[in-house]
Symmetry: C2
Subunit: 194 residues, 2 copies
């Protein structure tokens, strides 16, 4: 077996399946390695402009220091919602989080099931009445009333197997779970009069 | 009254309060202008790397074309979760969405209540057992079990009033609502065998 053949067999969909099975074995042997804490810091920059900085996290039994630099994501609002368009608005950022998580979960599931994907695209839509979040009425909720996700997927498996991969991704996606079922959020504030 | 004085009185916390009150009046007069649809498109780029593109939305009675260019956000996973760190992971992106929405809502509420803010920072933490999303056990949920948000705020109001602004932001934030209470998500897929 040539080295090239080994590489082709080990990496599927850009996922190192040997590493994946090693990770799953380690987690089965030591369940406490599954405990993760993810973090973000955010700073207001004026008006609807704020920026999150994301770097450190805890996982696999230790503080992770593998990231050479922090990531940052800017938020904003379009003019019609009183901003100057400094970034996607927070509701759009939530759609990104959902799309990204479903996609990555789908890619990992496909890699585990020996499905070679050639294309994964999705479009997401969320409907809201902004009179809720603008404080004008209690008759509508503040957030989206519903979200629609449409995937287009190509891969070397029958359509039914590709559909199964999508269903399994939905059943295991962390953000799909959070957005569908909700998460307890505790907010506290340290306030200083200036 | 000088022009400078007028500007100081109209723009508070970087929010044009005259525009804000005009918007609220328009929405009260024509509630159908409150109907918005936000969107994101996502494309898989290999492994845990995917990218969302965000531009168009519907709101205030029309398709909005005010954005000159699309925004994009990359997602990835760190090495320990089988990626090559091409961006914040989806769970971290959800923390960003939550931080950004609480912050913008807080800034708008403060502007409406004549509170001049000088600093708004937040740190967020979310806890999860990744054995859920990796498909190893049904005994833990896939997403965060809980999220903690800690704000540090400075402004020209008594601490109690600043705390009220934080509470009002929490009561009106679109993403806080969605993450706390959940949203129905409908996923469909068009699959092609390649």
């Amino acid at each position: 077996m040539s080295i090239q053949t080994q590489v082709i067999e080990t990496v599927r969909n850009g996922v190192d399946t040997a590493q994946m099975y090693g990770t799953l074995d380690a987690l089965n042997a030591n369940p406490e390695l599954g405990v993760f804490q993810f973090r973000a810091s955010n700073r207001w920059l004026g008006g609807a402009h704020n920026r999150s900085t994301i770097r450190s996290f805890y996982g696999a039994g230790q503080e992770d220091d593998s990231r050479a630099e922090a990531f940052s994501i800017d938020a904003g609002e379009p003019a019609v919602l009183l901003g100057v368009d400094t970034g996607p608005n927070p509701a759009e950022a939530l759609l990104h989080a959902l799309a990204a998580c479903l996609t990555t979960t789908l890619v990992y599931v496909a890699a585990a099931r020996k499905v070679n994907l050639t294309e994964v695209e999705s479009t997401l839509e969320g409907d809201m009445d902004v009179r809720g979040c603008l404080g004008l009425t209690d008759e509508v909720r503040n957030g989206f009333t519903n979200i629609r996700v449409r995937f287009r997927i190509s891969g070397d498996a029958p359509q039914e197997k590709l559909q199964e991969v999508v269903q399994r991704a939905q059943a295991r996606s962390a953000v799909f779970d959070m957005v569908s079922n909700g998460v307890p959020v505790h907010v506290e504030a340290s306030c200083q009069s200036s």
